[in-house]
């Protein structure tokens, strides 16, 4: 097992909803001590479904509990100047500040980069926004759908001849989070070498636009807009998902070479494949995929997804199941590899979740610990970390500065 690289790093996490909470969670798994600063007056995922047993409660939300594991929770009223002052004290003893409020919110609270640098000159301060912190659209409200639509990603997603579609999984948040983690690790490495902190700014729309180099190149060369092609590919045929036995069961098949196609055609019993000029090579298959795909689906429809995958993989043909999210968490392969972990939670028990996508020397790094209850670590943070005396703590509690 590799040494956790962020031991001794403390993070003040002002994250909202998914993107920054997800980033800070991964940094916590890498060994950082993360103080999640929450404001009871403006809770988000804690009061949104899904709830354990469909019973609402601030400690019962999967959306919160599965992106905030391994953190401490400190509830401060950031609308109260004394609450902001406590936040500043936390920042003063932290290495990293991360936030994804709407543009300008941290500045208005007196917690912007320029405000906190005097408190902590080598701070690494990360701001993430849907459209970033500069530019004419910086103040726009941007949910994942808006980010999909603005970035052009929706325009390359959709069935042939049909309209643009929105990618699932709310992935712009976590994908942006991956870039944030990378930037943070680089900035911490730079700080370790030079003593210098810095500001990091990320726009989620730009993160998504990085997926489109080909389309951007073609548009800027001659104005060509991409066509939507469903699941098809520019030269791999077949390259699609096909229905299998059962309700909403699908298998993905992707064939790159003639040898793979011959193996597929043989096991699928596609009539006359060996001497059918329509499928003889990639170029011919590209022209005749409308005819080829139904032949394949005829075969897959009679089989279970797992059987199609097994048969094709044994024949050297790339294939995989189309898994839904419950199947992802129940997948024996990913469970065996350690991707799926089930940290125990005091109120809702063990719940499966995904972790890092990699092992280090055969082990999954940073197994998640429980997510904090709301305000669970108020005393630990304010009294132990900030050294606020008992009577002062009680006064702040009574005045609702800490809740």
């Amino acid at each position: 097992m590799s040494t956790l690289p962020l031991k001794g790093i403390r993070i003040a996490d002002f994250g909202q909803i998914i993107a920054v909470p997800y980033t800070a969670q991964m940094l916590a798994w890498l060994g950082a001590e993360v103080v999640l600063i929450e404001t009871e007056q403006r809770l988000t995922t804690r009061i949104w479904p899904p709830f354990a047993e469909a019973e609402p409660g601030v400690n019962r939300s999967g959306g919160f509990n599965l992106v905030n594991t391994s953190k401490m929770s400190c509830t401060l009223n950031l609308r109260d100047p004394e609450g902001v002052d406590l936040a500043k004290q936390i920042i003063a003893v932290s290495d990293v500040v991360m936030e994804n409020y709407s543009s300008g919110t941290m500045d208005r609270m007196g917690l912007g980069y320029d405000d906190v640098r005097p408190l902590r000159p080598d701070v690494v301060y990360l701001s993430l926004g849907a459209f970033g912190r500069t530019g004419p659209m910086k103040d726009l409200v941007g949910f994942h759908s808006v980010i999909n639509l603005f970035s052009g990603l929706a325009s390359v997603t959709g069935h042939k001849g049909s309209h643009p579609r929105i990618m699932g999984g709310l992935f712009p948040d976590a994908f942006s989070g991956c870039y944030c983690i990378l930037a943070m690790l680089e900035a911490l490495y730079h700080r370790a070498n030079t003593g210098e902190g810095q500001h990091i700014e990320v726009a989620m729309t730009e993160v998504l636009a990085t997926l489109l180099p080909e389309a951007v190149m073609e548009y800027t060369l001659d104005g060509t807009e991409p066509e939507r092609v469903g699941n098809r590919h520019q030269y791999k045929v077949p390259h699609n998902v096909f229905r299998c036995q059962g309700q909403e069961k699908w298998v993905a098949i992707s064939v790159e070479s003639d040898a793979q196609f011959q193996a597929l055609a043989q096991v699928a019993g596609i009539p006359g494949w060996a001497d059918d000029h329509r499928f003889a090579n990639a170029e011919a298959r590209l022209k005749h995929q409308d005819e080829l795909e139904p032949l394949i689906q005829e075969w897959t429809m009679g089989l279970q997804v797992e059987d199609v995958v097994q048969i094709l993989q044994l024949s050297g043909v790339p294939a995989g199941p189309v898994l839904d999210s419950a199947q992802v968490l129940a997948d024996p392969h990913m469970i065996d590899r350690g991707f799926v972990q089930s940290p125990n939670h005091r109120e809702v028990g063990q719940r499966p979740m995904g972790t890092f996508s990699w092992n280090v020397d055969g082990d999954r790094p940073g197994v998640p610990m429980t997510a904090p209850l709301l305000g669970e670590h108020n005393r630990k943070v304010v009294q132990e970390l900030l050294q606020v005396p008992d009577d002062e703590f009680e006064r702040l509690l009574a005045n609702g500065v800490i809740s």
Partner: protein
């Protein structure tokens, strides 16, 4: 004058035939590391992928190749021939990172496991990106973009809210026509690599990172997995989305998301629609009521969206702070004042003089900013230079490899 990046002074060797490995190594180069891309003698597969300026195939001008391989130097070696392989191993022994990205069977066949490479060089970090990982019951499975997006749960989840399928039995799960799984795995591979570097500064030794593309896809859907963990997998055609409207609707010239889940947003939206009589109906009096009676509300809202273009709706709504937005074309995004003012796109010029743009770097680091240190290498451009600079090979030794033209 180019300044230094966070990883300046570190050395990377890349050997991969996938987007994920190439992009992972590029990100290390983006941070200043000296990245040497080792290509087979006939070149990386993405040199043959396009798009090309003017549509004329040219291995030096493939858009995807140029994008994936900036900030690298290029070396050609046939690592399966014994004399070239020793040069490859010599390069690896000088490197801090080796990034490999193949199907797992190829990683084994080519002997790219760390235990075979790091015996005399324990500092080496090997980052291996494969479709299903190097261990586990399905690790030998073949896979690519489509397979990873499907087996990682993303295809099933697409289209995602507030978009939805018509008939879940007939409308297939969907991927985007991009190399999304490759980029997801590439960025996470770079994260894992730099995390391993930080660990190395503490413990002194490198490690082997075994990253699975399937998991790299699943890892960016925490909310989707939370639904399955706390409730059930989200249906592909949900009945309602809690409170409404949060809908993806056709408009005069395309499609638009109309979102007004807060009461203030709803009142502002109704004001934009000239406060129709139906806005006052009891059945639309709250977000929950509007969800319950969505079948009645949807056609009424459609009347409004169909009377406007996407751009009009966005302008009207955003002025009132309502999150509505149309589906942009690639051109609308590239040409938008926002992208232009943030200077996000990079200007490129092909050897034939054609100008075009590529997406820039989505993270702005104040002290160690992203830079285009160098464009993607031509085939074999730096073979002699790197073998001399890294290894001190003589010109005769280099020629004897047969991997470089005299």
């Amino acid at each position: 004058m180019l300044s230094e990046g966070a990883l300046t002074g570190l050395k990377v060797v890349e050997f991969t035939d996938q987007v994920a490995g190439s992009f992972c190594a590029r990100l290390l180069g983006d941070a200043g590391a000296d990245v040497v891309k080792v290509e087979p003698l006939n070149g990386d597969r993405y040199r043959r992928n396009g798009p090309y300026p003017g549509g004329v195939p040219d291995p030096e001008l493939s858009g995807l190749f140029l994008y994936l391989n900036s900030n690298k130097r290029g070396v050609t070696l046939d690592i399966e021939s014994s004399k070239n392989r020793s040069a490859f191993l010599d390069l690896t022994s000088e490197a801090d990172f080796l990034v490999v990205g193949q199907e797992s069977g190829e990683v084994e066949r080519l002997g790219l496991r760390r235990e075979l490479l790091a015996a005399a060089h324990p500092e080496l970090i090997v980052t291996s990106i494969t479709p299903f990982g190097l261990i586990g019951p399905n690790s030998s499975y073949l896979g690519d973009e489509l397979i990873a997006i499907s087996a990682g749960g993303m295809a099933y989840a697409t289209p995602g809210i507030p978009d939805k399928v018509g008939d879940p039995h007939l409308e297939p799960p969907l991927r985007s026509n991009t190399h999304m799984a490759g980029y997801l795995a590439g960025v996470q591979g770079a994260v894992a690599s730099v995390a391993a570097l930080l660990s190395r500064t503490i413990q002194g030794t490198g490690c082997e990172i075994d990253l699975s593309m399937q998991e790299a896809v699943a890892a960016v859907m925490p909310y989707e997995l939370a639904h399955a963990s706390y409730d059930e997998a989200k249906p592909r055609k949900p009945k309602v989305f809690g409170v409404m409207p949060n809908a993806y609707l056709p408009c005069q010239d395309g499609y638009v998301v109309v979102m007004a889940v807060m009461e203030a947003h709803w009142r502002n939206l109704m004001a934009l629609a000239d406060n129709p009589d139906w806005a006052e109906l009891e059945v639309f009096s709250s977000g929950v009521e509007r969800a319950r009676n969505w079948d009645a509300l949807e056609p009424l809202l459609l009347e409004w969206t169909m009377a406007h273009t996407g751009a009009e709706i966005a302008q009207l709504a955003q002025d009132k702070g309502i999150p509505c937005f149309p589906a942009y074309t690639v051109g609308q995004m590239v040409d938008s004042a926002h992208v232009t003012e943030r200077n996000f796109m990079i200007d490129m010029e092909a050897t034939g003089g054609q100008r075009f743009k590529l997406p820039g770097y989505p993270v702005r680091l104040e002290k160690t900013p992203w830079q285009l240190f160098r464009p993607a290498p031509k085939l074999g451009e730096h073979t002699a230079e790197v073998l001399d600079e890294w290894l001190g090979y003589s010109p005769e030794q280099i020629l004897a490899l047969g991997a470089v033209s005299a």
